[in-house]
């Protein structure tokens, strides 16, 4: 046996863990090898040192901690956990679900014009659902609504104001028409229309009031912007308006048609529109650029108005948002390019 093999077995030799024949061979090698004997002695001393290590004791309270952790919970605790624990999960989940459903209902109501209309219990004339779902939405006819509200006497002015504000909040502001560019169409002052007790009933709405409503709305939506000085001047307002909304009402001009045009390039569209207006023998009476739309006001001869609107197709996707059924000889049209 070599020293290497013998040393590999010294540890087991020491522990008397070798098979008898192997033990015999190691013993024979050790008799003739002082180096390996010395190695065995060192190993033996090392093991003796290890045996001197004091036994470790578990910390005080260890048994109690283990048995407490291992102890099954009493039956009443398990029953209580089974019965009540789910509530701690269920109740917040249910509360959250209720809140979510409520929020969803409000959201759907806000985003669905049909629901709002049915809530008002009055059918809307010329209501186009796309008008309200499209963003930015065009101005809609409000005067009729006000007229109905006023005639029915069911809603207070405050509620009408809230209704108007609500409408405004849901829309991005379109441009207010410039009043100094009012067309030569005779129309009653808008401010009187909503409050007039003798306002026409639904279905008998004078055509002018509808378009005015759109314009009035358009104006009202821009109440954040200062009203053009010419508005007050042209109307000769006797006193300062009590609110921007009232000012808008008083300053509301009249128009015969409001058309929204979705364009890709507003600059090009403005040029094309100017050309079109000129081509049909009309004239541009005003233009205002806003952040998201350009408002162009024009007067177009009624004889070529149909041609005019059809030609708008070349500029962009257009939609008549409000239009007087009996157009005058000179049609005052407001176009919103966006």
């Amino acid at each position: 046996m070599s020293c290497h093999d013998a040393r590999e077995s010294l540890s087991a030799f020491l522990d008397e863990a070798l098979a008898p024949d192997e033990r015999q061979r190691v013993a024979q090698h050790l008799e003739g090898c002082p180096e390996c004997r010395r190695e065995l002695t060192r190993l033996e001393q090392t093991v003796a040192l290890l045996h001197r290590v004091e036994p470790v004791r578990a910390p005080v309270g260890f048994v109690d901690a283990v048995t407490a952790a291992a102890r099954p919970r009493p039956w009443y605790r398990r029953v209580a956990a089974a019965v009540f624990l789910p509530f701690s999960v269920k109740l917040p989940a249910e509360a959250t679900a209720v809140v979510m459903v409520a929020l969803l209902a409000v959201y759907v109501f806000e985003r669905t014009p049909a629901l709002q209309e049915s809530a008002r219990t009055q059918p809307e004339v010329r209501e186009d659902p796309r008008e309200k779902t499209a963003r930015p939405a065009p101005p809609t006819v409000l005067t009729d609504r006000f007229a109905r509200d006023s005639s029915s006497g069911e809603r207070s002015p405050e509620s009408k104001a809230r209704s108007l504000e609500k409408e405004q909040d849901r829309r991005e502001a379109p441009a207010a028409p410039r009043l100094d560019a009012a067309p030569p169409v005779a129309a009653p002052p808008a401010a009187t229309a909503p409050a007039a007790p003798a306002a026409p009933a639904p279905g008998a709405t004078p055509p002018a009031s509808k378009v005015e409503g759109a314009l009035e709305k358009s104006q009202a939506e821009n109440r954040q912007a200062p009203a053009p000085p010419s508005a007050e001047g042209s109307r000769g307002a006797p006193a300062a308006p009590a609110s921007p909304r009232l000012a808008a009402k008083r300053a509301a001009p009249s128009a015969d048609a409001v058309t929204g045009i979705a364009v890709r390039d507003r600059d090009a569209a403005e040029r094309d529109l100017a050309e079109l207006i000129a081509r049909v023998g009309g004239r541009e009476t005003g233009r205002r650029r806003e952040e998201d739309a350009t408002i162009v006001e024009a007067v177009v001869p009624q004889s070529r108005y149909a041609e005019f609107t059809q030609s708008l197709t070349r500029i962009g996707a257009w939609r008549v948002e409000a239009e007087r059924p009996d157009l005058p000889a000179q049609v005052h049209v407001i176009l919103r390019l966006q």
Binding site: E8, S11, L43, T46, V47
Partner: protein
């Protein structure tokens, strides 16, 4: 056959008798904790592992076949838990660098041992510095007094592997503890 391995006691344990389990913990707590603390070098961590070992034993008592000694079974559970934890800890320590490893080797447990003497402190440090697979063998053999066969069973190793690992562990310790040898 140890007292804890008496058939009557095993029956009580398997039946889920609370006092039987308490007796089991009382009987083996120091051995289980001892292996854990020598393997982990940290008393708090060792207590946690020792408690977990007993709880696992408690859950598995119904399946304990009784063909091994209870102590062997408990050592097996404890050793596995320690080695698993060290494998996780070692990965963490490798990332933190060797300095942390050395700090662990000279951590809470060896520091406490310093008070009991330089030799014992050196012993603990030397044991702590052994590779884990050798450390567990030398702990089970020279500190816990298990036979080669029991160690092979506890660690699920071949007898020859136990022998060679033990020999290398002792040789390592001999070199490290040279100055304390007569």
């Amino acid at each position: 056959v140890e007292a804890g391995d008496a058939p009557r006691f095993l029956d009580r344990l398997r039946a889920g008798e609370t006092t039987a389990f308490e007796e089991l913990v009382i009987t083996y707590q120091h051995r289980v904790f001892g292996v854990a603390v020598r393997m982990l070098g940290n008393a708090a961590e060792a207590q946690e592992v020792a408690q977990e070992a007993f709880l696992r034993a408690h859950r598995g008592l119904a399946e304990f076949r009784g063909d091994a000694k209870l102590s062997t079974w408990l050592y097996a559970i404890t050793s596995r838990l320690c080695l698993n934890r060290l494998a996780t800890a070692e990965r963490r320590l490798h990332r933190q660098g060797e300095e942390t490893l050395l700090r662990l080797a000279g951590g809470e447990w060896p520091d406490a041992a310093v008070e009991r003497g330089e030799v014992e402190a050196a012993l603990h440090r030397a044991i702590a510095e052994l590779p884990e697979d050798r450390r567990i063998v030398v702990v089970l053999r020279d500190l816990e007094g298990l036979s080669y066969e029991e160690i092979a069973e506890v660690l699920d190793l071949e007898l020859g592997t136990v022998r060679s690992r033990l020999h290398r562990a002792r040789a390592d310790l001999k070199d490290k503890l040279e100055r304390f040898l007569p």
